[in-house]
């Protein structure tokens, strides 16, 4: 059975690239374009991992993550944040969230799928 990944991303181009890479990598992908929708979908689909943009229009990524960590169904799902920012201002917040890691954009298309599966298996940050 294919592993399921939830992508929460409001930029459709990013979403498309990530989805294509993951599907080539052998994942089943579900998508949400907002944190609110993402949280609902996560509850429903129970994905193996969540790839989430750090800066969404409706909510800060870390806030959504904290909310999911409070619910039993989504508590243990690894979260992979993706951000274009290099300021690193969210490093502390991300470290405070269990089973969360950070990837910088642009994503490494050649390794993206591998990094996600590493994360699901309980990788270095998991």
């Amino acid at each position: 059975m294919k592993q399921k990944v939830l992508i929460i991303e409001d930029n459709w181009k990013n979403r498309m690239l990530e989805k294509d890479l993951l599907e080539i990598g052998g994942f089943e992908v579900v998508e949400a374009i907002s944190d609110a929708a993402g949280i609902l979908l996560a509850r429903k689909e129970k994905p193996d991992a969540i790839v989430m943009d750090m800066r969404l229009s409706d909510m800060r990524g870390t806030q959504a993550a904290e909310r999911m960590r409070q619910e039993s169904e989504t508590r243990d799902i690894p979260i992979i944040f993706v951000t274009a920012s290099v300021i690193g201002e969210w490093m502390e917040e991300i470290r405070a969230i269990p089973k969360a890691m950070l990837l910088t954009k642009p994503v490494d298309t050649r390794n993206f799928a591998r990094e996600i599966s590493l994360c699901i298996r309980g990788g270095p940050h998991g």
Partner: protein, 663 residues
Amino acid sequence: MLGWALDIPALKSVAPGLVTMKANTALCFVFIGAALWLLQVKRRNAPHGPLMAALLGLGVFGIGLLTLLEYLLRRDLGIDQVLFKELSDAVLTSSPGRMAFNTAINFTLTGLALFLLASPKKDRVPFVQILMVPVGILAALSFVGYLYHAEPLFIGPHFSTAMALHTAVLFLATFLGLLFCRPCCGVMAQVSSDAIGGKVMRRLLPATILIPLFLGWLKLHWEKTGVASNEFGVSFVATANLTLVTLYVAVLSFWLNKSESKATALAATLARSEISYRRLFEAAKDGILLVDFETGLIVDVNQFLIDLGGYPKSEFLGKRLWEIHFLKEMVPSKEAFLKLKAQEYARYEDLPLETKLGYKTPVEFVSNVYRVDGRKVIQCNIRDITERKRAEEALRKHQEHLEELVRARTAELELSNQKLKTTAEDLRRASKAKTEFLANMSHEFRTPLSSVIGFSEVLYDQKFGPLNERQKQYTQNILTSGRHLLSLINDVLDVSKVESGKMVLEVSLFSVQACLEEVLRLTDGLAYSKKINPLVEIPQDLGEMLADQRKIKQIIYNLMSNAIKFTPAGGKVGLRARKDDAGIEITVWDTGIGIAAEELERVFEPFTRLGDAYTQETEGTGLGLTISRKIVELHGGKMWIESAGAGLGTSVRFKIPTGGVSK
């Protein structure tokens, strides 16, 4: 008096057989004594003293005069025995209880003298002293009579009672008492004066009186006792008097000579001082006026004041101070002069003196009072202060000018300070805005760039089907350009972070050796591809460094890869580390294209690229060395570059201090 009251003969007469002092005489002496005492007592202690003394004097005068009248009218007025009765067989007494004729004269004169003496007016004193002369002579006659046993002298005229011995003595005392009562006045002023005459009087007079008396007594005594004959006595006294007078004359002339030579010297000194004073007075650069203190008449005026005012000397002399129009500012009236007199010192700083020609000259006026030969003189100094005022005015203006300058400069400084503050604030805001802008820009740039890189990478990897050669080449061009743009964005962001102080060092203690070895591993592939085998000199005891490990590693990696890139195949590249007390120094050197001396510092400026623009590789952003140096400096270290010249290779060194980072 006691003798009469208690009838003690020893008190009435000095010796038995001598005439008694009559009761009235004794009473008069008591009066005289009391009066003299009252006159000596300070007026404050006995305000009615002089009046009492005058009354006592009148009493004495009355008694004396009445007794005289008794003698002259040959009548008994009944005043002789008012107090006490005397036996009619009293020795040498014309009428019982009546005092002697000469005693009565003396009392009349003495009483009058006392009455005058009690008067507050000093000019009566000479009369007192004149009145006392006969008193002294009469007393002296009786006294000498007693001394020499010359009976006619003390017994007196046949109609009169004789003067008693103690009466004579008391009259002598009275004589001296009245004279010395007012030593400063009349004849006595001569005696008490400090001048030569007074000196002679005081020193020689007692001897003049006593020595002849003594000599006379000695002569008589010798003749009576038979020691010497009359001739011997006379010659002795004559010789003695001769000697004495000669001695007197000698002493007197000696004193006079001395005094005169002193006076001459003094006069010479005075003359000299007068000449000097005159010179000073005439040559003075102040106007000087001398004014008589009492009258206010101008005594002298110097040339300077004459020139200053333009009035001739005659306009001043003999005039009163307040009569001179020229001086109206200082002494406008007699009242002002009286005030000046009372104060004895006056000073006016700045008065307008009006000259004859009508000019106003500012002057300083000072007046002092001096004593010259017992007279008071007012000296007025009038100084022309035109120059001084001008200088003061110039100084004041200069000072004002300076103050104005200071004020203007202060205002300017305040303004520029304000400007600076505003500028600094603006700059700070601008810098903050710039950093925020760059952070946002970076994010906004990276989002589309992520798509460019991501999609072209997937295309280039042919994940969705094969591409022809041209398509593949194009896709690769898109990919490399996208990556270059990304690294540019990243470097620009780094520079701005360092410049705005946002770059945070994550300092830790790490092994330098391990760090260098990792860099060598990372550059191994690149070096191999250019057939370069880096020369590595790393001592074993390098130890640890306190710094941001990731950033230091990045710097060394950049330097190594640059060195390899800019060195032609077969050239040499080296990595050297050295440790000293100050810190650890890392050198990356090569035998590559080198840098001309004038270009050395420029390589640290942003976007500086070395070598021919056509041969450049596209990966460099031109910001690597700029960021590296800034990061080293952030660690408190230094980075510099050395080259023997173009084509001769380069070495880049940096040093991180042992103490670590200054945050």
